[in-house]
């Protein structure tokens, strides 16, 4: 095992003593991210203030052969920032300067520790905002968003983090600072930025991020529609998409999720609803008005028994409050719960929800459903009581079976929470060995010694030797090799 004490000494001298933590008690603060049932106490925590310091930490880790894991705000839900017991946790939370708001270029340049919502706050006076809006946007960091390719309720229309990042400065796993892209579009060469975003810390650490700013829409209209059944709400969603409308968001909650939200934040949704839809349209007023009427009509035609239209920003915020607080709210109706994240083709929604409910019933657990209905991204919350013998196991079984359903219907094992530690075991069910092998070719290009967040995403690491290459070079002497 590497000499951690020596490494910690080196980090203290390079960063300053107050930026390096080795005290066992203090280290425990960092033992998990948002997925709290995995816990690992890191050997060292480093709190760099600059990109150069991040690079210095990574170089020190490389020299010592010690793995490192990056962490932003620690809100991730797949254990992507779960520390390595013999490694260094590099926390970017101190790097929270907004370096530039270049409204004339529709860009902002920020450090990785900057909170998602703060980018929007900085851009709003210029008539812009930052579009990706994960529910944790008040606390999650841009660096974490980049690592996870975070989505949010509005990515149905606006896309994910990857569609809103135009430049990165990264510390590659060998400790080199590398710039990819910038404020201008379409940098020449391989789209390494595209590969990096969503790589969950396995290809290095982002130390500066250039993001697109989106013009604030002229008009935003939001409605809340209550339905007597999930099928009706699903049919309304299909009808809206089928009519050629691209709403900014279509969110659905079922009765149990509504019950939890009411208990937690008293959002005052229509009583008796088996499902509610929140539909939001934004854009030029001339478009939004016409389409909003159309959407209202489609909800009515599909059996909505009550439709509320947000009269002002306050009411709109109230509609969203129930939805955005749903995960935490479930704590009000159940001592323990698993937040699942899977994707299915949107058209399979009613069928898959029926099967989830059958599964829940047969296993004797409750499942609350909250999801981005517009893009088929499910967030079933599997409720259980850890105090009751066997419940946790049954909940785990149902949660896993939901992921199986997503795969069966041709969807994905994760829509926005990432693979991380939690879902690496499912990767071989979504991708074949050759597919995983190919992804790891990229890993080998960036991180041949597997020090950057090892053990995440891939269930089995690929050896990065010159395998294919050297073998072929022997067979084909004289072939040009660069």
């Amino acid at each position: 095992m590497a000499d951690i004490d020596a490494l910690a000494r080196r980090l203290r001298s390079e960063l300053g003593p107050e930026q390096v933590i080795t005290d066992r008690q203090e280290l425990r603060t960092y033992e998990c991210d948002g997925l709290a049932h995995y816990k690992v106490v890191p050997a060292v925590v480093a709190l760099p203030h600059t990109a150069a310091q991040v690079a210095a930490v990574v170089r020190a880790c490389v020299a010592a052969g010690v793995p490192f894991v990056a962490r932003g705000s620690g809100t991730g839900l797949s254990g992507g920032a779960l520390p390595h017991a013999e490694g260094v946790l590099i926390v970017t939370a101190q790097m929270r300067r907004i370096l530039e708001v270049a409204a004339q270029d529709e860009r902002a340049v920020v450090e990785p520790g900057v909170i998602n919502l703060h980018v929007t706050k900085a851009a709003t006076p210029h008539g812009y905002y930052y579009a990706p809006d994960p529910s944790s946007q008040q606390i999650c960091s841009i660096g974490g968003n980049v690592a996870e390719n975070s989505g949010g309720a509005h990515c149905l229309k606006y896309g994910f983090t990857t569609n809103h990042v135009t430049g990165l400065q990264i510390v590659a796993p060998d400790g080199e600072l590398v710039r990819l892209g910038g404020k201008a579009p379409d940098p020449p060469g391989y789209d390494l930025m595209g590969a990096f975003v969503g790589s969950e810390g396995t290809l290095g650490i982002a130390t500066e991020v250039t993001v697109k700013l989106t013009r604030l829409p002229e008009s935003v209209r939001t409605l809340l529609a209550a339905f007597g059944s999930i099928d009706q709400a699903g049919a309304a969603t299909s009808a809206i998409i089928g009519a050629g409308v691209v709403p900014a968001a279509i969110e659905m909650m079922d009765a149990l999720a509504i019950e939890a939200a009411e208990a937690a934040v008293a959002c005052g949704y229509p009583p008796g609803a088996a499902a509610v839809l929140i539909v939001e349209l934004d854009g030029p007023a001339a478009e939004v008005e016409a389409q909003f009427e159309q959407v209202t009509g489609l909800c009515e035609a599909n059996g909505a028994f009550e439709i509320r239209i947000a009269a002002d920003e306050l009411e709109r915020a109230l509609f969203w409050k129930g939805r955005k607080s749903a995960f935490a709210a479930v704590g009000r109706i159940s001592p323990d719960y698993i937040v699942q994240d899977g994707v299915i083709p949107r058209t399979a929604l009613p069928e898959v929800l029926r099967r989830i409910s059958e599964m829940a019933e047969s296993h004797g657990v409750r499942v609350a459903n909250v999801f981005h209905a517009g893009d088929g991204n499910l967030h079933p919350l599997v409720l259980f009581d850890d105090g009751v013998e066997g419940e946790a196991e049954r909940a785990e079984t149902v949660s896993g079976a939901i992921i199986d359903l997503c795969i069966e219907y041709g969807g994905s094992i994760t829509g926005e929470h990432g693979v991380g530690m939690d879902k690496a075991k499912y990767m071989p069910r979504m991708f074949g060995p050759d597919d995983l092998d190919t992804m790891q070719l990229v890993r080998c290009a960036f991180d041949p010694s597997h020090l950057s967040n090892p053990g995440k995403i891939f269930p089995t690491p690929r050896l990065c030797g010159e395998k294919a290459g050297s073998d072929l070079r022997e067979r084909f002497p004289g072939v040009e090799v660069f």
Partner: protein
């Protein structure tokens, strides 16, 4: 044996003047994989519709052209899920998607694979993004013959590395793209163009008007600035009228003749310039023959000579952008650094070495001689 899977090349089978020896025309991903596996000691260039085959430097060596035009057709169109699965050789012209569209601008004859491999884009990128944004799944035959998939058939998906982005714009240097999954958009019910002679400096005013244009295109040659508005009939009427007033322009059903076309002649020097948005007016004011997306900062230029290439490149790079020579006559091409400066090149070489250790796929066609 590769000879059983390929035919001898004819006079037309060359890339940038480098003649191929063999041409293979697989019709399925499996056939394509068999060809690639049998060609493990050959240098390879993949060819689609050939509309952009003259882009980029000539290959250092060329044994085999893999032509994808038989690898064609729509595998699936799930209208309710707004996605389609297309084989790489499928022409983008005349895709039958009903009330939906694959929002990729392209020249006539371009294929799915060629458009993705070159990362080509057009005016509507302002609203819809580019191939990198619309591609959600991909099947690729690796240079070692392995069939490999990434992404999937749902838009929202963060499982594993997003290799679709890596392949997009990789000019066939990482393998043979055989199938692509795209997200679709509804076809707008109405559209209108606003044509004007307003200067490029008027663009911020259009953006500030929040009319959500689908495209804003500038053409230095005619001095025109034109805007495309898409949406509902009533919405388009109102928004187009606003832009018309703003630019003192004129509403038209049809785009200007230059819309979406490259500004260079077939035997000229063609460049792609990309700059931060605020630099667009300076590029237009250089007097060079530039044209393109004034709303995103991606312009195309017909350079008169190498001096002008260097001048435009210096201006772009100084402003934080890029200038790539897409096409040039052979004598010019051979003395030019077509790609220009490329940050991150060392990492890119390492990626190439992993995917194609012998550098057999499109050797020399890409950045830094990759």
């Amino acid at each position: 044996m590769i000879e059983d899977l390929a035919r001898p090349a004819t006079g037309d089978d060359h890339v940038g003047g480098v003649p191929a020896r063999l041409v293979a025309e697989p019709a399925t991903t499996e056939e394509a994989a068999a060809v690639v596996a049998a060609a493990r000691d050959l240098t390879v260039v993949v060819r689609g519709g050939g509309t952009k085959l003259h882009w980029g430097p000539a290959p250092r060596s060329l044994d085999l052209i893999i032509d994808t035009r038989r690898l064609s057709g729509m595998v699936e169109h799930a209208a309710g899920d707004l996605i389609t699965v297309l084989r790489a050789g499928t022409p983008l012209d005349g895709l039958e998607l009903g009330e939906q569209q694959l929002a990729l601008d392209h020249p006539p004859g371009a294929t799915v694979g060629g458009t993705v491999a070159t990362g080509a884009s057009g005016p509507r990128r302002l609203h819809y993004g580019t191939a990198r944004d619309l591609l959600i799944g991909i099947t690729v035959v690796r240079p070692d013959g392995t069939i490999t998939r990434a992404g999937g058939k749902v838009v929202k998906n963060v499982a594993g590395y997003d290799l679709g982005k890596l392949y997009t714009g990789s000019y066939g240097t990482l393998g043979l793209i055989t199938e692509c999954v795209f997200r679709l958009h509804p076809r707008p019910a109405a559209h209108a163009y606003v044509r004007s002679t307003a200067p490029a400096r008027a663009v911020p005013a259009i953006l500030a008007a929040r009319v959500a244009p689908a495209a804003i295109e500038v053409d230095a040659g005619t001095g025109e600035l034109a805007v495309l508005i898409e949406g509902t009939p009533e919405g388009v009427r109102e928004r187009a009228a606003l832009v018309e007033k703003l630019l003192a322009g004129e509403i038209a059903e049809q785009p200007p003749g230059w819309w979406g076309l490259p500004p260079w002649e077939a035997d000229g020097i063609g460049m792609k310039l990309s700059v931060p948005l605020s630099q667009v007016p300076a590029l237009v004011d250089t007097g060079a023959n530039v044209r393109g997306s004034a709303g995103t900062g991606v312009l195309y230029a017909a350079a008169r000579d190498i001096t002008e290439v260097e001048r435009l490149r210096a201006l772009c790079v100084r402003g934080g952008g890029h200038a790539v020579v897409l096409t040039a006559p052979a004598p010019v091409r051979d003395i030019l650094d077509m790609w220009g400066p490329v940050p991150g090149l060392a990492l890119m070489r390492r990626v190439k070495d992993q995917f194609d250790p012998e550098h057999r796929f499109a050797p020399g066609r890409f950045v830094g001689g990759i």
